[in-house]
Structures are given as C-alpha cells and as structure tokens.
Subunit: 311 residues, 2 copies
C-alpha cells in the first residue's frame, strides 16, 4: 500500500530535501512511498514539517500517524492546539556536529581574543598571551543533544566545563548541576556562558539582570540556542556597564535581526545570522526515513516530544 508523505516546509526547502529523502527511503527499504508537497489532507500518512510552513491546522490530517519535525526546536508547533498526532523532533548528527564546531570555534575565539588581531591589523604588535584553557571555566546551560555534545567537546580541549540542565545529567569530564538551586552555581564561575536550552515557558528570559549579575565581571555570553532565552534589555545594560565583556548572538526574537537593532552597532556584540547549525539534508533525511519505517512496523518512534514538558 502506498505511504503518503506530505512535505510541509517552505517552498525553497523542497529542492534541497527531495533527493536526499527519496534516497533515504530506498536505503531503509520503504517501497511505494508517495512523497509530495500537495496531498489531500485526509490521505496523508506522515507529515514532514517545518514550523514556518503554511500548514498550521492539523485537524484535517485525520489519518496522519506522525508529524516529523525538520528542526531541532519545536516551540513553533508544540503548543498548537490542533496537533493531536505524535510529534518527533529532529536529532540530526550533522546538525549536532555543526553546532559543536560553531560553539567550539566561538569559545576559542573569545578565549584567545582573536578579534583583537582580526580587527587590529594596524601595524601594532599587541602581545596578548591568553591563559590556558585549563584556567578558563566555561558553563553550558542545557545538556540535551546539542549542549551535551558541546560540553564534551570543550572539556576535551581542556576547559573546566560546568553544565546545567533541568534534570540531573551525567557527562564524563563535565561538572553537571541541575534544577533551580544548581543554576546560581553554574553562573558564578562562567567566564564563558553558552546557551543551548530549549525555549519553554520556564526558560524564556532565563538570562535576566539578576542572573547576569551572578556571573564573573567581564564574562562572555554565546547564544546559539534561542533568542528569547535572554532578556535583551538586561544584556545590553550589562554590556554597557562592563559586567559582560561580549555577547556573540546567533538567534533573536525577530529574524533576520532588523538593521536598526542596537545589537548590530554595539561594539561588544557580534551578530551571526542563525547559522550556528542547521539541519543537514542527507543526515536528516535518514532520521525521517527511519521514523517512517518504525511507524509502518508499529515500533516506537525516535525523539518523540513530551508535549507537557514542551520539548
């Protein structure tokens, strides 16, 4: 029997994903798959989904067995009241590896202060020798797929790494703290702070004025997670006062970040355009195909979202 798979993402994504998806279906032995961007809702078996697609009402998809998100973040769909189907997050090894590279690169950029030279090619010999990584404590907030992998990579380079998450985790070489009482301790030592929390009601504005004040003076914030994790006004005030030395921000409340936003002009902010990592079509297509295979075999789906928890 034909398996009807609706591709519901922005139009430009179809060209990127069609071939990798067909290849992944074949690889997983899925025969007779009808993959298209336009299928009558009542005939759809699976929805491959981006939260910015045109599909916002899931009511007509009466037979759909699962919504398979193309993104790691699900905050654009998890509260949709019309969604009654099981929802799976994207956990893509390519996305995870890209995130590790971006976070490691920007952590080393701030640790070594390479901007001093990149922005200072003026003939002045500025002999700044940074401390070793072993003397530079780093904290990662969020120890999921992405945060955990980043914490591990940074510990591997010699940084003393503290990780914090809602529930207690165990990662070799990383000091893992948890819960409300663990957060102040995680912030206290954070010369470099990396935000990789999911966006939920509990994490919105998590990095506010009080929590920034707990960090060491001159600390650096790196946010490849989600824009609303930070109280933007508190961040700007702390950068102005010197309580924070720099912020490198990849995600924002509004994207693209408007050209007039104060982040662009602030000398202590580096804006990057939501590139810390993205889903890679080849590896992501395999995750989607594996979940369709599991759905057809009535096995448990991978990476199901706990809708009460929000991620």
């Amino acid at each position: 029997m034909t398996i009807n798979v609706l591709f519901a993402a922005r139009a430009d994504r179809w060209a990127t994903y069609e071939a990798p998806l067909r290849a992944a279906f074949a690889e997983k032995g899925l025969q007779d798959v009808h993959l298209a961007t336009d299928i009558p809702p009542e005939a759809v078996d699976y929805i491959i989904y981006s939260p910015n697609s045109a599909v916002q009402d899931f009511t007509p998809y009466t037979r759909a067995k699962a919504v398979l998100n193309l993104w790691a973040g699900v905050e654009g769909i998890v509260d949709n009241p019309t969604l009654t189907q099981p929802l799976a997050r994207m956990v893509d090894t390519g996305l995870r590896q890209g995130m590790v590279e971006w976070v490691t690169g920007h952590t080393l950029r701030h640790h070594l202060n390479t901007d001093l030279h990149v922005l200072g090619q003026d003939g002045q010999w500025r002999s700044y020798v940074p401390p070793l990584a072993t003397d530079r404590p780093v904290t990662v907030l969020g120890l999921g797929e992405l945060g955990g992998a980043c914490a591990e990579a940074l510990a591997g380079l010699g940084f003393p790494v503290t990780g914090w998450s809602r529930s207690q985790k165990q990662i070799a070489g990383v000091t893992c703290l948890a819960g409300a009482e663990g957060l102040p301790r995680a912030l206290e030592t954070a010369q470099i702070l990396i935000l990789l929390l999911p966006l939920t009601g509990q994490t919105e504005n998590l990095l506010d004025a009080d929590r920034i004040a707990r960090m060491p003076a001159g600390a650096v914030v790196i946010n490849p997670g989600r824009g609303p994790l930070i109280d933007d006004g508190a961040l700007l005030a702390a950068l102005d006062s010197g309580q924070l030395g720099h912020a490198t921000l990849d995600v924002f409340r509004e994207e693209p970040l408007p050209p007039a936003h104060p982040f662009w002009a602030h000398p202590r902010v580096t804006v990057t355009p939501h590139i810390a990592s993205e889903t890679r079509p080849t590896t992501a297509a395999r995750v989607i195909a594996e979940n369709i295979r599991r759905g057809e075999a009535r096995e448990n789906l991978l990476y199901l979202v706990d809708r009460a928890r929000g991620y």
Copy 2:
C-alpha cells in the same frame, strides 16, 4: 656542594622565572642551588638559556654540564661553533597546550569563516553555512611535540587530517606521510595548511611558489612555526592571485613585524604577534629542574638536541 645555575635570558625574564625555578628545584629535591644572572663563567654548572640573551660565546663555561634552552626552537643556538656542551630543547606541556588551542582556534576561525561576521556587523544578514569539518581536509607540516598534538586535536574535532614529517610517524586518526615524495601529496588536499616544522637548512623557504601551486585553490595557510619556512614573496603573489584565500601568520623573518610590511595591510593576511604559544614559567621550570636533577644523578638528559640534524 653548591650547584651553580646561570640564568642567561633577557633581563625582563628573570622576574618571571626566578620564583617558579626556585619552587621547581625544591620540588625536585635539589638542595644548595645557587641560581643567579651573574656567575663567573668558569664556576657555572648549568646554563638556563634563551637564544636572545647576551651570552653568545660558550667557550669560558668550561665546567658547564648542559645548556637548557627556554625555547622550543633552537635555531638561534644550534649552529653556534663555541657550543660544545650538551643542549636540551624546551618541551613544555603548557607551551604545547597553548599551541593546540591557538591552532585549533584559528583553524575553526577559517573553517567557519567567523571573520565574515566579526568584520561585517553592518546589519546585513549573511547566511553562510560552512561544510562540516568532516568535509574540510587539513594538513599539518611537522609532527613533532607541537605538530603532533595539533594534528591529534584537529582529528578529534572531525577534520580529516594529513600530517607530514621528515621521517615516518604514526598518529592515531591522522594520515601520516613522510619524506620528499610525501610532501606533494600532503599539500594536494590541504584546504587549511598548518606549518609547525623546525627551522633548518632543509625547511627554509619550504613553502615556495611551486609548493603553493600544488594546494587547492583558495586554501588557507596558518604559520605558528617559524617565519622563514615561507617564501614571503611567493605567499603574497598567491594571495593576490587568489590561489591562496588567506594567511594567518604568527611568526616572521623580522619581529616585531615592521609597521610598513605589506603583510599588515594585505586584506587576506592576519598578523598575530608571535603569541601562538609561549613557554609557561611554572611548567617550563619543572622541565629545567628535572634536567638538572638528571645531570647531577648522571642520568640521560631529556630532549637533547641532535646537532647534526639541527633540532
């Protein structure tokens, strides 16, 4: 009996090294050490040495059992005809770790093209997503203490790493090539090339026009090794033609690099002021103390230089 240890480095180094050296001597159980910057040559047992010190004639040091170099590089002393005493290089774990951090940081900087954003905070949303490290071949020339450690760290981050050295080496996860016939193959795939060779008659101008031409178009050169490893004119020509995309240079034929040198103004060159790594007093002092302990116990010294080979 008193052990007379002459500290022969630039005057400003004495303040940095005196306390760590005394602490390391105590740690190694060396008693009755007379450490000073001024000891009659004929009474000196060991010389702690920097090639830029005032001591250039070793003839009067008739009783000295060893010259203990504070630097990893020995090209400023190895050809000194007055040197008849054994010469030991500095192999400092702090220096090695600092080098790994600098090389990893700048490799990721070029891999991720972070300069695009650091230099482009103008309100334009430039969505460049780099390939994964697994698709970015890196080559390290020189697989000694420093090059070997850097090759290993980069392989650990997922880069396909090729290493090249005079004699064949074995490093887990690194494709090791050797000798004259291995060099062209090491260059062919080098999207990022890292120079960590010792400076000898054989390696001077090793990276010349012919060898640059063998690299992939748009490749990046990172030189934290020694300035004269590169033919500067050939490098500038290749940057102008686009055969090379960028050069990040930490070492130069003349240091500090004169403000009028074309490297400073070239848009495809990043100059850093010989900071890729430096000897760290605490860890280096332990290496010196260990060699004095060995000398007194008539054991073999660590890190002896093969003067015929030049390093």
